[in-house]
């Protein structure tokens, strides 16, 4: 019973999680996934990498001659390391709120859709139009047509807790 939480167990548990997440995207059941899904898989395991982080990781994972696929044998050790080292830690609700507040330069307490779009599609690691539309569909209050970011943040972070 005391052995339960030794390092070995943790590693095995971690690897099982990785294996399961990988399987969801392994459509052909041949232990490979499309390289474009790597970001999704890593994020689904609870990590918050930036796009730049992802590019680095993918570069590591790709074959010498890029096939467009990533093999599980390569993915597993890399991902295990990421999880055990707790890289790409989560973003807290507070921090997120602060970020919105920064964008809300006039301190209105809300953001216009166009405002937010401008920031998120032009600055930082820009969203595609599709990503922007998706986020807006969840964020914009249908009655007032603005983003009440405080509510939005609480709602989204609440959603995730399981």
């Amino acid at each position: 019973m005391a052995d339960k939480y030794n390092a070995e167990t943790i590693i095995t548990e971690t690897q099982k999680r990785i294996s399961n997440a990988f399987d969801v995207f392994d459509h052909e059941s041949n232990k490979t996934v499309d390289v474009r899904e790597i970001g999704t898989i890593i994020r689904s395991l609870g990590c918050f990498p930036s796009e730049a982080d992802l590019h680095e990781i993918i570069a590591e994972l790709e074959e010498e001659e890029p096939t467009g696929f990533v093999r599980y044998e390569k993915f597993l050790p890399t991902m295990t390391k990421i999880l055990l080292e707790r890289k790409f830690r989560p973003i807290t609700e507070d921090l997120l709120l602060q970020a919105f507040e920064v964008l809300d330069q006039q301190k209105k307490g809300h953001l216009e859709p166009e405002e937010l779009s401008k920031y998120l599609t032009q600055e930082g690691e820009p969203f595609t139009q599709e990503e922007m539309d998706e986020m807006l569909s969840a964020a914009v209050d249908p009655d007032k047509n603005v983003i009440l970011y405080k509510d939005f943040v609480s709602m989204m972070t609440f959603d995730d807790t399981r």
Binding site: R17, N20, V24, G124, S137, D160
Partner: protein
């Protein structure tokens, strides 16, 4: 100050050397943060969406496997002929050719002229030949939930049959005159989608040609209406409407997937004849369509042996069902048995050559080899031959039965007087394989061509096969359907194969979009996607995902619940010390062992398991939490009920096969035999005592017969967590029974399930469709779509939480 970046200082203002704020840097940081966070959130939504999709697909595959298993089992019965086996006799009829009559006799059988249409009937009254306005009126009428009177149904179908008989196997279409051709995929009885397509794209006309790529029926609840609309337009614009046959245009498939039930429920008096006529119509539907000699449109796909020249030559109507041997064109009347012995040998040799499919380990039940659809039917024919041989030797039959059985057999046996075609010659087999391949195949990403063991027919074909095929036939694109796609369409094989699926929300509201495609003379596809429920439009992507996920999980929980006994044994095997606890890994592997659904259980576990202590699950408590209530009966033990529930689709299919006259009713005796069949299939004892109890408790009509629908109704599970909504009356009944002296729940089934308020698409009582004085003693049977895995839902309470499919045409945008 300085470079220490703690969380709180992330957004401290940055100052340049003059002390001015540098806003850009801050906003960029903020933007990056939000983006990073949102992408994480979106990724997790994506995973949920993905495994929800997996759940639906694996349930669908499991259901397909179930069907194959059933047919294998029936084939096994046929093979192991024991005279006289009553169970075998129950089912053999379906695999025999029917009385072979001339067309004139059929026309008499299908005659509609003596069917009166009462004055109070307010639906469309068709006059033939049909014109465009009548076709449009028909669409309007169905939009208003009216039902076409059986007289007109039969008339329309007869006209359709006549037309189809002169059409070639390969429709050839041209995009000259700058006409754009619209192509639609599977519709599966979902009328809303067809209406939406017409709304967005216009109805078929001389300027607006359409190709429909099969699978018009089954699963959805308005299959017959879709057929009637398509056939009406076909009759009005025969040069501009093209119909391909799908694998669901097959009466044996329809027994399981809901179309037979739908027709019998909507047309109580004439349903049987309508079904028979449709059987013929289906076999006469063309097989493929070719546009401009460049684009092939076919329902399933191709194989490495697909040969269009051969396809053009076959007698397609001989291939009535994927599960029946091809019937002979003209019955032979000479002595059949001259070559019988040699013929037997030949057939036996053929069958020994082995199945088209690879046998795959399935579990204890699969002690006999899995067969492909083709093999099964071949086996059926062979044993019929044996049967008659035996009878002949025993001198049992009279002359009249000889000629009757002779005619029946003549479909399956070769004879000297017809040198060109003996039934199971290689040609016949080859043709049949060609057709199965066209209607049942699926593309795969690897090269090669292997038998499609998931579906039991057709094959999986790879990009190299596509290349070869397109080159050989000088084509540039294959458009096919047959598989549901999230976005309504999907390219593969280097954009040389397009899958097109037109039934939106196929698994569940919000599960997928439907699509249709337009091709102009340049043959560049232009896609239009849609989703036929207004409710999904108001929902954001995450909300949509959650809603669909909710249903998938519900379905999954149900599966877990009905496998409780097996799961419990599996858990207890692991938990040898009987602690009642099991760790997550073992939980996951045990479930996979029992259910064989190939799902990511560890990823799913947070949704299925509410709490764990120290990473271990209290499995007894977990079963209690699954929040489902079974129909209960003191007389019948829980395991038995669970088993019957689990196999209810199989049970229902057998019922419908046994119901030879398609009346929806079977006798006690047949019911008994059916359960015996099932117990043989499951290799599980269903004692006579149990059967008797079931029989007694099910005879609600008190007339010595059992209504299949009513019986199946008893097997609905009630979801405890949704007590309040809509199932009130039925639920109350069940509740009452449990508190007072117990009575089997079956006997209270749907008589009193009055649904409050709006029930969509029920045949309105005012529209007498069959005969004005039809028996109303029977409650209106619930028309529930036989969708894979989902519980039958009636009584929609249209709130956003409710997961009923509501048929609303999206209003103009």
């Amino acid at each position: 100050m300085g470079c220490g970046v703690t969380k709180t200082s992330e957004f401290n203002r940055k100052f340049d050397k003059d002390g001015n704020v540098i806003p850009a840097a801050i906003t960029m940081k903020a933007a990056v943060l939000i983006q990073r966070w949102y992408r994480q959130y979106a990724a997790r939504m994506e995973v949920r969406r993905r495994y929800t999709w997996n759940i639906f697909q694996s349930m669908e595959y499991a259901d397909l496997q179930d069907q194959i298993k059933l047919y294998n089992f029936l084939g096994y019965l046929m093979d192991n002929f024991t005279p006289p086996s009553s169970e075998r006799n129950l089912i053999s009829h379906i695999f025999r050719e029917n009385e072979v009559c001339r067309d004139a006799e059929w026309e008499r059988y299908f005659s509609y002229t003596n069917i009166d249409v009462p004055d109070i009937y307010s639906g469309p009254r068709l006059t033939f030949p049909l014109d465009m306005d009548q076709a449009a009126d028909l669409v309007e009428a169905f939009k208003k939930k009216q039902q076409l009177h059986s007289r007109y149904v039969l008339q329309l179908l007869l006209e359709t049959w006549k037309l189809l008989k002169v059409l070639p196997n390969i429709n050839r279409v041209s995009t000259c005159h700058s006409k754009e051709i619209t192509i639609c995929g599977d519709l599966h009885g979902q009328l809303e989608d067809l209406l939406l397509i017409f709304y967005k794209n216009g109805m078929p006309s001389l300027e607006k040609p359409y190709v429909f790529n099969g699978d018009y029926v089954d699963r959805g609840k308005d299959s017959i209406e879709i057929l009637l609309i398509l056939f009406a337009f076909l009759l009005v614009f025969p040069g501009d409407v093209y119909l391909n046959r799908g694998n669901h245009e097959d009466h044996i498939i329809n027994l399981r997937y809901g179309f037979t039930k739908e027709v019998l429920n909507k047309y109580k008096l004439h349903g049987k004849r309508i079904l028979k006529l449709l059987q013929k119509i289906f076999s006469w539907l063309p097989l493929v369509t070719v546009i401009d000699q460049r684009v092939l449109i076919v329902h399933g796909g191709i194989s490495d042996t697909t040969n269009l020249a051969l396809i053009a030559r076959v007698d397609r109507h001989r291939y009535v069902s994927a599960l029946r041997p091809p019937k002979k064109k003209t019955p032979s009347r000479t002595n059949v048995y001259a070559d019988s012995e040699r013929y037997d040998e030949m057939i036996i040799c053929k069958n020994r050559r082995g199945s088209l499919t690879f046998p795959k380990p399935f579990g204890a039940r699969e002690s006999f080899q899995r067969r492909s659809l083709q093999d099964f039917s071949r086996a059926v024919a062979r044993t019929l031959e044996e049967e008659f041989e035996v009878r002949r030797r025993q001198g049992e039959f009279s002359l009249s039965s000889f000629s009757k059985s002779h005619r029946i057999l003549s479909s399956a046996v070769s004879s000297d007087s017809e040198p060109e075609s003996s039934e199971f010659t290689d040609t016949s087999n080859e043709e049949w394989k060609q057709i199965l391949d066209l209607l049942w195949s699926d593309p795969m990403s690897h090269d090669g061509c292997i038998p499609n063991e998931v579906r039991g027919g057709g094959c999986y074909w790879g990009p190299d096969v596509t290349e070869g095929f397109l080159n050989r036939h000088n084509l540039q694109l294959i458009i096919r359907s047959h598989e549901c796609k999230q976005d309504g369409y999907e390219f593969c094989h280097n954009r040389k194969v397009l899958t097109l699926f037109s039934a939106s929300n196929y698994y569940e509201v919000g599960s997928n979009r439907g699509a249709f495609v337009r091709l102009g003379p340049d043959l560049v596809p232009y896609f239009v996607q849609y989703q036929a429920t207004s409710m999904t439009r108001g929902l954001s992507f995450p909300q949509n995902v959650k809603r669909t996920e909710h249903t998938a999980l519900k379905v999954l929980r149900e599966q877990l619940f009905v496998h409780k006994s097996d799961l419990l044994s599996a858990f207890q095997e692991i938990d040898k010390e009987n602690t009642g606890l099991i760790c997550l890994n073992e939980w996951a592997s045990a479930i996979e062992r029992v259910l064989h659904l190939d799902l990511p259980w560890r990823v799913l576990h947070p949704q299925l398991v509410s709490s764990t202590t120290d990473g271990r699950l209290d499995y007894h408590g977990w079963f209690r939490d699954l929040a489902l209530k079974k129909p209960s009966s003191e007389h019948i033990e829980q395991t038995m009920l669970e088993t019957l529930y689990r196999h209810r689709s199989t049970l229902e299919t057998i019922f419908r096969i046994v119901d030879t006259d398609n009346s929806g009713l079977i006798t006690f005796e047949d019911f008994r035999q059916t359960l015996k069949l099932l117990s043989a299939y499951l290799k599980m004892e269903i004692s006579d005592e149990v059967i008797n109890k079931l029989v007694i408790s099910t005879d609600t009509n008190n007339d010595g017969s059992i209504d299949i629908d009513e019986f199946m109704e008893a097997f609905r599970l009630v979801d405890k967590s949704r007590l309040e909504r809509g199932k009130s009356l039925l639920k109350l009944m069940q509740d009452n029974q449990e508190t007072e002296s117990p009575q089997p729940v079956y006997s209270t089934a749907p008589q009193t399930s009055q649904c409050p308020a709006s029930q969509p698409a029920d045949p309105p009582a005012s529209n007498t469709t069959d005969s004005a004085c039809s028996q109303t003693a029977n409650p209106p049977a619930l028309q529930t779509a036989d969708s894979p895995g989902s519980l039958a839902e009636d009584c929609p309470a249209s709130q956003t939480e409710d997961l009923c499919h509501i048929s609303v045409v999206v209003p103009p945008q």
